[in-house]
Symmetry: C2
Subunit: 347 residues, 2 copies
């Protein structure tokens, strides 16, 4: 390694870093259909199907805090966030492998709790655990999961297929996972200041569940099939709506107008956000971890999806030269900036 | 988690732990051919082939020490150890995904070095990098890689097919990686005592390469195909010969006699072992990280392999009731015990 040059990781951020690290790699295998750059890799399987592969890692102190993350939920969530990537390709997950690195400060019973959560997620989503690698770490806990799925060749949806005038659609509602985290962080600070005060989590069930036990939108993929709608592009919302919209626009080479008033936000998310002096739209745009699906559909499909309570049209795609814009409730047009989570930022 | 019961991880060891954690999992997907318990999972692909999936994680301070592991070699080795698992199923690796967790004490240039090693391994073994996940960690560096491969359905080799009287065969030679580690550890201690003394690594090239830049035995899989030999069982040697023999015997429900005098050990490994007051056979049996292939073949195939310089017959399988034995150079029969590396053992 050259001693002269030192580029801090926080400067690049996760996506800049991955681009930088993988730019010299070329794919040469005929079985590689699509490599780095989408929610999952797409591999040749048979005449009718592709195989989908996605990997994601959760690290203690970065993605979760052991003070408020029950181990069973951690196991469950670590599976769900990976399955979400397979659904985001319009596919069906079938298997997972689990790599666990854990310090020996944990007893075997703690790992059993994690695996119990993994098993619950496997049952819920009909996937098989087919590989396990458990090793020690010097300090924290780390879970890396690979999800394997399949998709009919004519059904696979990438990030890069959105066209001008397509409608931008999001499943469920947004900002809940972020506000759940704020509630947990607040109670953690209260507890640290005075361990005799019991945490006040009453009434925050929905937000806490969004943060601690999210679900992947298997149901939305089923709805789309039943409605005979094939999205033109799709991504899952792990890093916040703004960041994911930017990914779709960049990959599809289009612009976008997103309307503040259309963004689905649960009433509890709004009231909690206001209590925390956070603009609810900011929680939705930049919060992340909602694991909803963001996709585009052709205008012609609007009638098929408009009645579905799980899908909300929040904007439309424009010419690439038009840029990506957020139109607030007062009608002001603001250029959209991804402020997704930069794991490498130093506090 | 129950507060009453606490089972230390070191008590179970890696394999006991995985058994314990995965015992409640059942596979339900028709596409799952073989799940946890072999070098790789086996999944349905098409009429002629299976898909193979294997995951392995390398953790700083546990699997490697940054003081003597160059980053480029680390990237290379982390790919190779995963490909080795695909070869151990008699398959061909085609893709990998890489999950990297790294603290921001590393500059981007350090990660570029790691990826340069990953790229070299991809070139050498003809595999494509198809997925990347890079996140921060609170302290050390961790690389988790998933390898994806394929194998003709009539060619897949599991651990559980060895039969009584089959010959036990090992590729290459053993103990080198372990002795390489001993040399590096010795020089590390010398350096810590006096940083002005240059490390004395002259003449240890072979051992250091075995430790720092191991290769997976792609060539042996090719030889087996050319020789028209299908092993009855196979495993790769990551944890030491003794441990891997025990795995084959347990999975295949057979016993085994292994002969000390037959175990292939390089002259440099022997002389270095003696210098370090280590029995060369101990380095081979318990050292690990050689990434050679251990397999069994029917007696009828002996003539096909006997002339191959990359393969050595080191014993034969017996009835399960006969037990697993090591016969030393004096003809003494010693019950074989796996003393593979227990990552969870507290120092």
């Amino acid at each position: 390694m050259s001693e002269e040059k030192r580029t801090e990781l926080e400067k690049l951020g996760e996506f800049g870093l991955i681009d930088q690290l993988t730019k010299n790699f070329k794919t040469t295998q005929t079985s590689t259909v699509y490599g780095v750059g989408d929610d999952a890799a797409v591999l040749e399987k048979n005449d009718k199907e592709f195989t989908l592969i996605s990997t994601d890692t959760l690290v203690e102190g970065v993605h979760f805090n052991m003070m408020y993350m029950p181990l069973k939920h951690l196991g469950y969530k670590s599976v769900v966030v990976n399955l979400s990537d397979i659904y985001a390709m319009n596919g069906t997950p079938e298997q997972i492998t689990v790599s666990l690195a854990v310090s020996n400060r944990f007893p075997a019973e703690a790992l059993e709790e994690i695996y119990e959560g993994i098993r619950l997620a496997c049952d819920m989503y009909n996937v098989d655990l087919v590989g396990g690698d458990t090793t020690s770490s010097l300090s924290g806990l780390m879970i890396s999961i690979t999800a394997i799925g399949s998709v009919a060749k004519d059904k696979v949806v990438y990030r890069n297929g959105a066209k001008e005038n397509d409608l931008l659609v999001v499943s469920g509602d947004l900002g809940g996972a972020f506000m759940g985290l704020q509630v947990l962080e607040r109670e953690k600070e209260v507890y640290k200041a005075n361990p005799n005060i019991q945490p006040d989590l009453d009434g925050f069930d929905y937000l806490l569940e969004r943060q601690l036990k999210p679900e992947a939108r298997k149901d939305v993929i089923k709805f789309l099939e039943e409605l005979e709608v094939k999205p033109t592009s799709m991504i899952d919302i792990s890093d916040g709506l703004a960041s994911e919209i930017m990914h779709l626009c960049k990959a599809s080479k289009v612009g976008c107008n997103v309307y503040d008033e259309k963004i689905p936000i649960d009433a509890k998310v709004s009231t909690t956000a206001i209590d925390f002096n956070v603009d609810p739209a900011t929680a939705a745009l930049n919060g992340g971890e909602d694991y909803e699906l963001l996709f585009t559909v052709a205008q012609a499909d609007y009638d098929k999806i408009k009645g579905n309570p799980h899908m909300t049209v929040i904007g439309h795609m424009t010419d690439a030269n038009a840029g990506t814009y957020f139109i607030d409730k007062q009608g002001a047009t603001i250029e959209l900036k991804a402020q997704g989570w930069n794991h490498f930022k130093k506090d």
